[in-house]
């Protein structure tokens, strides 16, 4: 009888999914029948019949549709809930409007933020070998800082000493180089990368033309993306054509790639073969082990199953082999997964600002929460209106759950309406938000299944958040009480939940307002701060070539222009993002003081052009370049570090370059000026004339506040002079004050976003307040009528209605001020130069909020106070 058992999995299926009420006899019957079938029609057919019976008896199919369901979630009841919900929404149009608007705005914020966060977390996730791609990073153990770049010798070292690597891919990115199509004079300034064929095996590329195995094997070849092929030649059929690099070297197009996706940290449009480096820059040392640059990065594709953590020993070996044992305590190499690149420095120049994203998500949720609070407040406020309904429903036999479902349906319906509007809103504001956040997202991102899923989840969550409390509160009313008294509970608690929620709304709004004000104060401070030099009316242009005779021609040509006051050639501007740091040593007897110093390399005009004040000694001369007598200017902080009090005492002192023999003499002392952005302290700084490091010309215009026309005229003349001096190059200029402003871009962005969310939060809170005020006024119509009949003035009635709300604002001010103060002092820690947080900011925001609240409420209270008491008392 062993083989007469039916298949086990079918029996299991039946016991899981069969109707538990009849399971026992069904299982028994089928066993008996199975035995019968095996005897009569054979085992195979018996199994078949058994299976068929089991399938048909499983509950989803065997559901008895004749059953008259008394379930609260049957289709009939759901239809009823929706119908009643519609009627209620239509009945109180005002409240529905407030709720839908608030929720829609809140949800639109959330949806947009979701898109931003989704975009920022989707970088570098699409490579086929993504889990095996790493970037080799260099850590300065003493500085506790790791850098994305590494030594140029590393590529060869890894080939020799890291057998775990399947591929080693060095990349060198170069910016600001002129590329030209020699046949058409199309000339552009571009960023490009030196790469080898290995890159195409590391990341995934789609080829329109060319062979990935050989495209970059030869020197002087270039691979372009589709967009760039079209940019230079107007078509993608350009294999074998020539592009001229920097007016020096012809490159042959050896491949065309499909454009890369937006979410990559490798947005290379022009890839030049690695071996071309020697032709362009013969001095470039590919075996260097002292000093590195972040533009040279090495990527590694590990063999399958290798854990990057297990390679520590290998890297220690590399340090010892190429840099010596003494480097071990300071240098460490490690592998960083490609999926982390977007959160730190990478070659795309786009980095996710994690803290900004977190702040934003938090604020977005707050705005949504405020909107939910509106819903909770307005629905519980209406409890009194709906008490009769609830009472009658309960008396007739409705149970609590059906009322809960009823109220939840109402919340759900509102949320659904709101989410429709929210999606429309999101579509409208997406381009603006994308611009403000500098995130390349478009409306197409809005209509993806992930967003759809998120929206549905968001709607569900919002419904629950907004609906659960009112649903339970309203459905919990005693029917007798609801029908008989029909007034609010006696002895109101001194502080109800409704008031609590209003206080929270106002607290959030107040925090946001004061933060926005303080951030703006700090930004104004950045603009107005005395930097120690004059940033106005200075135009900077790049110098592609700094041979002394070229510079002299350029200077002579500019000198003729009447619009120009002064010209200075230098390494960078008085304040810049990237700087040259140098260790200087001051030897006082046996004692040597090391100072990490910023080198400003500029000519004799540097001080005059940038308006830097000389405190003692004399200016530099253009001839101060002889290595036997280097001369330099030091700033006050530098003097302070080497222990000299009076500027005049420093003249004639010698300072050494590091611990070497070369030294320079201090010939002058300058007043402190901000060499960095205001985030950082002023470094000890020296200025020296080093002509072969002059890469930029600072051009000071005659007038301090030039008009647009004078600037245009000046620029045209400067371009003429520039192109005459540096033919076949692309002229590029910027205004110093704008360049400096870019250092504060992140703060400007934060300020803008906080302003917008503040506006939204206040708007939603006010909408809610308006609704509550309307409701209170309605509820107290009779009371106001009686008061007026007895002689109350309009003013006293307005006061009566407004007092309650003002009390709430006051509590909110008390709560919000310390929180805002704490948050802002944390934020201000990012800056070395910052504003003081003053108490009046909080007083001002409090006043502002009170005024806004009063204005919102007064619309209703004035209306109620002016109403003719005869009318309000007559109607019953």
């Amino acid at each position: 009888m062993q083989n007469q058992k039916p298949p086990r999995w079918l029996s299991l299926l039946l016991s899981r999914l069969g109707d538990p009420n009849t399971l026992e006899e069904v299982q028994g019957d089928l066993l008996e029948l199975y035995a019968h079938w095996v005897e009569t029609v054979g085992e195979r057919k018996a199994r078949w019949r058994y299976g068929l019976s089991v399938l048909k008896l499983m509950r989803p199919f065997a559901q008895r549709n004749e059953e008259y369901s008394t379930s609260l979630l049957s289709p009939v009841m759901i239809r009823n809930y929706v119908k009643i919900a519609f009627r209620n929404l239509a009945k109180s149009k005002g409240y529905s409007f407030i709720n839908v608007t608030g929720l829609a705005v809140g949800m639109a914020c959330t949806v947009v933020l979701f898109l931003v966060v989704k975009h920022e977390t989707s970088y570098d996730r699409h490579y086929a070998n993504g889990d095996r791609i790493y970037r080799l990073e260099t850590e300065n153990i003493k500085e506790k800082h790791s850098y994305p770049g590494t030594y140029t010798g590393m590529a060869n070292a890894l080939h020799a000493d890291l057998p775990e690597a399947e591929r080693v891919v060095p990349l060198l990115q170069v910016g600001g180089t002129t590329f030209a199509d020699p046949s058409s004079e199309n000339r552009y300034k571009e960023k490009f990368v030196f790469a080898g064929n290995e890159l195409f095996q590391l990341l995934d590329y789609q080829w329109l033309a060319g062979n990935p195995k050989t495209a970059l094997s030869q020197p002087n070849t270039i691979v372009l993306t589709r967009t760039y092929a079209e940019k230079y030649f107007g078509s993608t059929d350009v294999m074998g054509k020539t592009i001229r690099l920097d007016d020096k070297q012809n490159l042959q197009v050896a491949g065309i790639l499909e454009d890369y996706p937006v979410t990559t940290s490798f947005p290379f449009n022009m890839l030049v073969s690695f071996s071309t480096i020697k032709n362009v820059n013969p001095d470039y040392d590919l075996n260097r082990w002292n000093g590195w640059n972040d533009n040279f990065q090495v990527y590694v594709l590990l063999k399958k199953g290798i854990d990057p953590e297990s390679l520590t020993k290998r890297f220690q070996g590399i340090v010892v082999k190429y840099m010596g044992k003494e480097a071990l305590p300071d240098k460490r190499f490690f592998l960083n997964s490609v999926s982390n690149l977007h959160y730190g420095m990478n070659m795309s120049g786009r980095t996710a600002n994690v803290s900004l994203l977190k702040t934003l998500s938090f604020i977005g949720l707050l705005v949504l929460l405020i909107a939910c609070f509106n819903f909770i407040n307005l629905s519980t406020a209406q409890a009194f209106k709906r008490a009769k309904e609830v009472g009658i429903r309960k008396a007739v036999g409705s149970n609590r759950w059906s009322l809960v479902y009823q109220f939840l349906t109402e919340a759900g319906l509102l949320t659904c309406l709101a989410i429709l509007i929210a999606v429309l809103l999101a579509q409208l504001v997406l381009p603006i938000a994308a611009g403000a956040l500098a995130v390349p997202i478009t409306a197409t991102d809005l209509f993806s299944w992930q967003t759809g899923l998120f929206t549905v989840a968001l709607a569900g969550l919002t419904t629950l958040l907004a609906g659960v409390y009112p649903a339970f509160r309203l459905s919990g009313m005693e029917p007798i009480w609801a029908l008989k008294n029909n007034t609010l509970a006696q002895g109101r608690p001194w502080f109800s939940l409704r008031q609590g929620l209003v206080v929270v709304q106002f607290t959030v709004s107040l925090i946001l307002i004061s933060c926005a004000m303080l951030i703006n104060q700090q930004l104004t401070f950045f603009q107005k701060a005395d930097l120690g030099f004059n940033k106005e009316a200075i135009i900077t242009v790049g110098l592609p070539n700094n041979k002394p005779e070229k510079l002299q021609t350029f200077r002579n040509q500019l000198a003729e222009l009447p619009q120009i006051k002064d010209v200075s050639f230098s390494f960078n501007s008085a304040s810049a993002e990237s700087n040259w740091m140098q260790s200087m040593q001051y030897r006082k007897g046996a004692e040597a003081i090391d100072v990490k110093t910023q080198m400003k390399m500029g000519d004799s005009r540097f001080l005059d052009t940038y308006g830097i004040q000389l405190l003692a000694g004399e200016k530099l001369r253009d001839s101060d370049t002889s290595s036997t007598s280097f001369k330099l200017l030091a700033n006050e902080i530098f003097l302070d570090r080497i222990g000299i009090k009076h500027p005049a005492d420093a003249i004639g002192e010698k300072v050494y370059y590091g611990d070497g023999k070369e030294f320079a003499t201090i010939v002058g002392v300058v007043k402190n000026f901000n060499v960095n952005s205001l985030h950082q302290k002023i470094d000890p700084t020296v200025i020296q004339v080093v002509p072969n490091n002059f890469y930029q010309a600072g051009i000071k215009l005659q007038s301090e506040k030039p008009t647009a026309e004078t600037i245009q005229a000046a620029l045209a003349r400067i371009e003429e002079a520039w192109t005459a001096t540096f033919p076949n190059q692309v002229f590029d200029y910027s205004f110093l004050d704008e360049t400096l402003k870019q250092a504060y871009q992140s703060e400007t962005r934060t300020a803008k976003l906080i302003e917008v969310s503040t506006f939204l939060a206040v708007l939603i809170a006010c909408l809610g307040l308006f609704g509550l005020a309307t409701f209170t006024a309605e509820q107290r119509t009779k009371e106001i009528g009686v008061r007026k009949v007895l002689g109350a003035s309009v003013g006293s009635i307005i006061g009566l209605l407004s007092r309650d709300f003002l009390k709430l604002v006051l509590i909110a001010v008390v709560l919000a001020s310390p929180i805002a103060w704490y948050a802002m002092s944390e934020w201000l820690r990012n800056f070395e130069f910052k504003i003081e947080i003053q108490w009046w900011i909080f007083a001002l925001t409090g006043l502002l909020m009170a005024a806004i609240a009063l204005l919102t409420v007064s619309f209703q209270s004035v209306k109620a106070a002016l109403m003719n008491p005869v009318k309000s008392l007559r109607s019953e």
Partner: protein, 112 residues
């Protein structure tokens, strides 16, 4: 009250239960119908019909009679209730009335 409605298959099942008297349960009913009508009936169809008839109040049931053959599980024995008998009678009466109303020549044509 609405008149009792019995579907054709329901009627067959109900009658079979009446025929089997004391020993009517899932397996015997299925086999009996198969034998008597000569048509292949699925067990699940019989099962759901029995359930439906019980809900309508034409059948009552009780559990008993576990055997080893069934893995020790009890059977659900069905008996026809008074309402069930009434319904069957009613259907029979209607049929008979209709047969009686049949004109004699038609009856002859049908081979009766």
């Amino acid at each position: 009250m609405k008149r009792a409605f019995l579907g054709e298959f329901e009627e067959v099942v109900l009658l079979t239960v009446a025929v089997l008297d004391e020993s009517a349960y899932g397996v015997t009913i299925t086999q009996e119908i198969e034998q008597k009508t000569g048509r292949a009936v699925g067990f699940s169809t019989v099962h759901t019909t029995l359930q439906r008839l019980e809900e309508k109040g034409y059948l009552s049931s009780k559990m008993s009679g576990a055997t080893a053959e069934r893995g020790g599980r009890r059977k659900r024995f069905f008996t026809v209730t008074t309402a069930g008998r009434k319904a069957l009678m009613e259907v029979k009466n209607i049929r008979e009335q209709l047969w009686d109303a049949l004109p004699p020549q038609t009856l002859q044509l049908m081979g009766g």
